[in-house]
Symmetry: C2
Subunit: 264 residues, 2 copies
Amino acid sequence: MKWCRFYATDGSIHFGIVEGEHIVEVRGSPFEQYEETSQRHALSSARLAVPAMPYNFYAMGANFRKHLDWANQRFNLKIGVPKAADMGYRSPSALIASGESIIIPSDSIGPVQYEGELVAVIGRKAKNLSKDEALSCVLGYTLGNDLSERTWQFSDRTMWRGKNADTFKPMGPVIETELDPSSQDIQVRVNGKLASEYNTRDAVHDLATCISRTSRYVTFYPGDVIWLGCDGACEPDLVAGDVVEIANPSIGVLSNRVEHEVAA
Amino acid sequence: MKWCRFYATDGSIHFGIVEGEHIVEVRGSPFEQYEETSQRHALSSARLAVPAMPYNFYAMGANFRKHLDWANQRFNLKIGVPKAADMGYRSPSALIASGESIIIPSDSIGPVQYEGELVAVIGRKAKNLSKDEALSCVLGYTLGNDLSERTWQFSDRTMWRGKNADTFKPMGPVIETELDPSSQDIQVRVNGKLASEYNTRDAVHDLATCISRTSRYVTFYPGDVIWLGCDGACEPDLVAGDVVEIANPSIGVLSNRVEHEVAA
């Protein structure tokens, strides 16, 4: 089952269920009670919104060995594989939907790079989950692009600007509820050309481990998202005019054009 | 003018305006349109909620010299004064109101310490603010206690557990709209005894500078909060049974009891 959020003609945002070429509009949301309405919208002409607005926006960093090897070499770092699954935070206000533009701030030094990731969307309130029951709190999965301005990422005290500038967190297009997060193929294409491909089975800490450990200390809420990190290199560096796509066979394609901010 | 959020007898949460010993219940919120109702509630018997639920929860770390000097000595660190105002993130789900209990996880190694802080509550959407106009986006000010489990803070890759475990972010009691953030006296009392006192005039980066720089890259939204850091030492270390109070003459007292989690 595929959930989406979309804009109605009056500008309001509704949840919908994707069925073939149509969106079935629902009243309510997948996080509470909902019912299908009689409204149908053509998927091809619908404007999609970010598929969930998180209360807490978590990100697993440093969770794939080949990505760390690449980053350590390219940026002369010495980041090791973390012993345990430690979450980081991202900013909900950086989220944009598939089809919306990534705006690189005018004073960016760069490079600006994609990180194509699987994203878990939490479906219910949960705390103290065992590893066996951890995935039961997940509603489904979508895709994310953890855009990173590497100069700021390494020069600033935190990632507030390097990874959380406005528009730096594309997420979508839909939430797929039937999917095994431990064996997903993730492709990144830049201007239609394959740039990166990896499988989530190579994660250092799998999602169940990550949710179980985190939930020992932190309550998860409906709509919270967990971005799972990426593997391999993140090249070519992005420039204005590029179209970057994150793709998975079950979820679909998260597509965003890159633009450069016009200086104020 | 003082804004609060409080629980009605049916468990629903409403905004209210504090007038003397009473809360005037309002329809709406300070972030949009509101109107006073005829309902009055005794402040002394009201159960207060967190005064704003942020969309983005920002924190200025390392923003006071005497706090850095103390932390560097006590924990053998070498944290310098940051050249520019770099925000960090905290987790909205860690927020609790004045009067609610701080629960230290059963496997905490400690020490657990308070950090008493002034908090700015954003009142309207804002981007690209000059330093002169920066404070115009602030609705008002409240108090926060940036509880910190120091072993986890320094051992984990991020502060997800050390500063964001459930209940680790007391905030309140009310939002005071008439207040100069650059000259506020902040006191911390533990079990009624003065433990720490400083003035926000000693901040390395003042709030206007911080908002202006951040807003160059990030849009602020109504309800977002910015915690401004603390000065000086954070002792004595907290233990179960302690009552910790953060106090300011204009805002009032944020008071929370410390408890130790009973192991599951």
